[in-house]
Amino acid sequence: MGRCIYCGRCEEVCPTGAITLSPDFELSVMNKQDLFEQADYKLAACHRCGKYFAPVKEIEYAGALLRQSDLPEVVKTNAGALLNICPECKRKNDVSKMVNLYQENKDVAR
């Protein structure tokens, strides 16, 4: 909290409404440690490569939003399958898909 400038940007962008600014002003402390708040969250491992890449809570939230949306079921299943995969593996996945598509098109053209 010692570095916060109370601009409210975090409140503005917080998607879950977890952060709210209050008019409370009694923030002075004798001990610098009291200005810190720490939170530990479990990390999720990528299902492909096993690297930890995001908090479990965040991925669960993304999945819940996906279920809440009224997108077609195909889109939901396809996106849901990629939920537990890290960004790097997603990129590799996309590239291999594109390569396959290119190969298929080439075969068809022949």
Binding site: C4, S28, M30, A39, K57, D70
Partner: protein, 262 residues
């Protein structure tokens, strides 16, 4: 002397020379706080801030807040000071004057780190010329965070440093529980519709009021999707606010557009 010996040191070398408070001075300070029967004199040391903190300190001196009624007086020499207020992040070129002010003030003295910059370097913490907050160089007794701290926060900080009030903030450590999940906002409303409504509302009324207005609309939508227009109209009639009516009318348009698309 001091200027010559310290001014060419790097951060790492400087930390070897950082001041540690004498235990005897600590006892004197406790006695001062207990037996003080006069005004306290405050000297401001600006170590390289934007002057926002100074403006708020002077705002605390104006008749509206008037810290002088508590006997807190701002003086113009560290020789007179009981309290040293360090504002601004500690810049390379101001660290020696800051140390000189510290040594010039008579014991017992109370040091206050004022503002986000004084506490930790603030938004300037990673600048090439900023060496951190005041606490890296000087034994700090009280931290007053804020950018800048309001006059009310300033008065509270002085009350803490004089031992009149106790501090409220405590450090906390949260560990994720077993069944801890993020709860969805308005789970009955489709996600894309919610985003569209929130965006339109924010566009019209800013993020704070926009969020409140969108939340009201979404709650009404969740309660009774079939009768939402009648309920919204009744709500608007009750509020009798043309600005609110216009914004909510736009939300209804967005809602109709979404229904039409689906």
């Amino acid at each position: 002397m001091l200027r010559d010996s310290v001014s060419n040191l790097t951060v790492a070398e400087h930390s070897k020379y950082s001041i540690h408070e004498d235990p005897a001075a600590g006892q004197l300070k406790a006695a001062l706080l207990k037996d003080i029967h006069r005004s306290v004199y405050v000297y401001r040391v600006d170590c390289g801030g934007c002057n926002g903190c100074e403006i708020e300190i002077f705002a605390a001196l104006t008749p509206l807040f008037d810290v002088e009624r508590f006997g807190i007086k701002v003086v113009s020499s560290p020789r007179h000071a009981d309290v040293l207020v360090y504002t601004g992040s500690m810049t390379r070129s101001m660290r020696v004057p800051a140390l000189r002010a510290y040594h010039a003030a008579p014991e017992p003295k109370i040091c206050v780190a004022y503002g986000a910059c004084g506490c930790s370097g603030g938004i300037f913490h990673d600048l090439y010329c900023v060496w951190g907050g005041a606490d890296k160089f000087i034994p700090i007794d009280v931290y007053i965070p804020g950018c800048p701290p309001t006059p009310a926060a300033t008065i509270y900080g002085f009350a803490i440093s004089l031992g009149i009030l106790g501090q409220k903030l405590k450090t906390s450590h949260h560990v994720q529980g077993e069944d801890e999940h993020v709860s969805l906002a308005h789970p009955q409303v489709p996600y894309l519709l919610r985003v569209q409504l929130e965006r339109e509302s924010r566009r019209m009324a800013g993020y704070l009021y926009g969020k409140q207005i969108a939340d009201t609309f979404l709650t009404m939508l969740e309660e009774n999707p079939n009768q939402v227009k009648e309920n919204v109209q009744a709500y608007l009639d009750k509020q009798a606010d043309p600005r609110l009516s216009e914004i909510v009318a736009r939300l209804v348009t967005v809602y109709d557009g979404y229904q039409g698309a689906v």
